[in-house]
Amino acid sequence: MRVARTLLGGLVLYAFLLLGGLVADVLGLPLPGSVLGMVLLWAALEAGVVRLAWIREGATTLLGLLGLLFVPAGAGFVQFVDAGWVWLGAVAVTGVGAVGTIVLTGLVVQRGMERG
């Protein structure tokens, strides 16, 4: 049963992935099909067109594995090891940027919530 539900969930997710790609193509939107598929599925869940129960197992399984799924893509860094000092700059920007962005976002949201 659990396997069947996981597979059903996977099929629904895959259908929305294809749908997202199709809509992006037809409308000429410069958005990854997967992101559009996420938005469409979210809307379908809110509208009650898709029930959470259909996809919960599949989605939970996939999101539980998420950390593994982008290992192959990430390993492609080996093509860029020759970039040398560029990495230093990139790491610095990422580090300063992460803390700066989080602090800015946190301040904006907290101020907004305090004002009601």
Partner: protein, 223 residues
């Protein structure tokens, strides 16, 4: 044979990284980052080209698309948090996202980085599966985008909470949304350790933050 070894090796590397993670509390021991470095070292030692490895592991990468779609589930589950503070959360994610993209893009121009690095730095606040999808869409380097997004998560989860404390950002929803929007899954795990509400807000932040980047970058890139 080589294909199978690549698949099994990737799963084993991730398994080892998970075991390491269980033994330590430092966020630098992020399982994905450790597994990526292990695979990179293995490729270097065996002399196997990345193209061959990438082909062999396509069954794993194939699942990334449905996994991005699956991010709709936490957004749906946390709709009450979203609805209660919708406008403020959107504003926060938009301001943070735009500032992050502006910094990444202008720093890349300043350092005269090539397009692959520039895109990876511009999209770094989107969670890896989304920044990878954007890099694919624009024919740049998914690998760099993945690594920069993961590093944004590690740096954010490690160094941002004490700064938030010092600046008096105490509301769980504000802390959570901000962490999720730049530090994704790693930040969400960190926020869940603070409270469920902060963790929920962080999932929402991860979704909104990725969406902001995905809406802005592909349209403006190269135009």
């Amino acid at each position: 044979m080589v294909e199978l070894a690549c698949l099994v090796g990737t799963v084993v590397a991730y398994g080892l990284a998970l075991r390491l993670k269980a033994r330590t509390t430092t966020p630098v021991a992020n399982p994905t980052l450790v597994a990526i470095l292990l695979v990179g070292a293995a490729l270097g030692l065996t002399g196997l080209g990345y193209g061959d490895y990438d082909d062999a592991t396509s069954p794993i990468s194939f699942l990334l698309g449905p996994a991005v779609v699956a991010l709709a589930v936490p957004l749906h589950q946390e709709r009450e948090t979203l609805l209660a503070h919708g406008r403020v959360l959107l504003l926060g994610a938009a301001v943070g996202g735009v500032a992050a993209m502006a910094l990444g893009w202008s720093a890349s121009a300043l350092l005269a980085l090539d397009d692959d690095f520039a895109l990876a730095l511009t999209t770094r606040t989107a969670t890896s599966p989304i920044s990878i999808a954007i890099a694919d869409e624009l024919d740049r380097a998914p690998a760099l985008s993945a690594v920069m997004s993961i590093m944004s998560g590690i740096f954010g989860a490690t160094f941002a909470p004490p700064v938030l404390d010092r600046l008096g950002v105490r509301l769980p929803v504000a802390r959570g949304l901000a962490m999720g929007a730049s530090a994704h899954g790693i930040g969400t795990a960190r926020m869940l350790a603070e409270s469920r509400l902060a963790g929920a807000a962080s999932s929402v932040g991860m979704g909104l933050g990725g969406l902001v980047v995905a809406l802005v970058v592909p349209g403006l890139w190269g135009s």
